[in-house]
């Protein structure tokens, strides 16, 4: 078992990244995943424990311009209560609304939700339909280096991402959604609160004259990672939103969702929920 030899809580990003260069830092943000995972032994600490919550500016939310930027340590409740985000990206706020409990939402960060890389991470499907990218930073060549990865290329398998151990997720960025963009989110669990999603579905699209374009559909808990449902998207792209296109989209879910049986639900039930949710969100949009 690894002994933690150093604890750091830097106020500057460069100091945090310098502490990460050897890839031996365990990043601590809200701790709502890290604490239970390390207590149960599912996850081991490394030599350094690095608290990133004191880094100045890392929780800032900038939703005023053409690019929306959400700092990694912003909490779920900060997103939920952000008036500008509610105005331009209500799908994200809707997901935040149904996230865990109020106490967890005060502690949990959006960056932690993404880096934990659970197929059930609730902030991920809405960010996928907003076309978000993540910004990764590291210390290389005596300077801060950053790269951007589209969120749909970030996840590899449960708990695994393309992020290197020396990299910190610093922000989530996406283009300000167009005025005719609509977004919807559905999640299900046995209880409306404090539930890890059995299945979640998000839809984002531009709607003009009853036709959908730039369609993005994302799903959680139907595969080893959250995913973009490309077949469902293809069934809807450029189509008038009517009974025929909705039926085609529902049928296409079988191509994208490859759920498994586990303690929370059977594969059959998950497949069923995905069909119901896709139909519901499309009917919602049609009704508007």
């Amino acid at each position: 078992m690894q002994e933690i030899t150093t604890y750091l809580a830097p106020s500057r990003l460069d100091a945090a990244l310098q502490a990460m260069v050897d890839g031996d830092a365990t990043v601590l943000c809200g701790g709502t995943d890290l604490a239970p995972q390390t207590e149960s032994g599912a996850r081991l600490y490394t030599a350094k424990l690095l608290n990133i919550r004191r880094i100045e500016g890392l929780g800032d939310i900038d939703a005023g311009g053409d690019k929306v930027r959400i700092g990694a340590v912003a909490t779920i409740n900060e997103i939920r209560r952000h008036p500008a985000l509610a105005a331009i990206a209500p799908v994200l706020v809707e997901a935040a609304e149904h996230f865990a409990s109020d106490q967890i939402r005060n502690a949990a960060s959006v960056g932690g939700n993404i880096c934990n890389a659970s197929p059930a991470g609730d902030m991920i499907p809405p960010l996928l339909v907003l076309g978000a990218s993540v910004e990764l930073a590291c210390w290389r060549g005596d300077a801060v280096q950053t790269r951007r990865i589209p969120l749909d290329q970030f996840f590899l398998s449960p708990g695994k991402t393309v992020k290197l151990p020396e990299e910190l997720l610093t922000a989530i960025v996406f283009d300000r959604p167009a005025a005719d963009f609509v977004g919807k989110f559905r999640k299900s669990g046995p209880r409306p609160a404090l539930e890890i999603s059995t299945v979640s579905v998000a839809l984002g699209a531009r709607v003009a004259d009853g036709r959908l374009s730039d369609v993005r559909v994302a799903m959680g808990s139907v595969a080893p990672t959250p995913l973009r449902a490309r077949h469902v998207e293809a069934a809807l792209e450029g189509k008038p939103l009517d009974a025929a296109s909705i039926a085609a989209a529902v049928t296409a879910t079988a191509e994208d969702a490859k759920p498994i049986d586990d303690v929370r639900a059977s594969a059959w039930y998950r497949g069923h929920l995905v069909r119901v949710f896709v139909e519901e969100v499309l009917n919602d949009v049609r009704g508007n």
Partner: protein, 162 residues
Amino acid sequence: MMSVETEIRFKLNGREVCLKVPVTMKTLTMLRDKLGMTGTKYACGEGECGACTIRIDGKTVNSCLMYAVDCDGRELVTIEGLRTPEGLHPMQQAFVDHGAIQCGFCMPGMIMQADYLVENNPKLTREEAQRGLEGNLCRCTGYTKVLDAVEAVVEKKCCGRC
């Protein structure tokens, strides 16, 4: 599990505290086992029940998930800090008056969260209270009376003092 210790300083119910904690220790363990503040309860230890709810810089969190090192430089309020010089806090009094307390184990967390909700929304509706308390489980299932108590505080008809 071995881990280094680090010194932290913070305000606990208005009082300066300085102590050394193992860096993986949770705030709940620090409060109960290091500081003898046993008002905050340990039940599930994994964020599901809310018995360990405290305030940190004004916001409620589950202290069983929060690393004690993260208290450094911040302000904590526990159920012990809610009491006013005149006596019980209005939310505590309302819980008593409405018979919301059965075994009492969930109550410190329940009251901390209820007080936080009302402070942030003086016009809190019963439904909003219900949603805001979703992370607080009561094994005695006295939820109706809990909501009655919160509603009474919102309507300021719980006691003469508030």
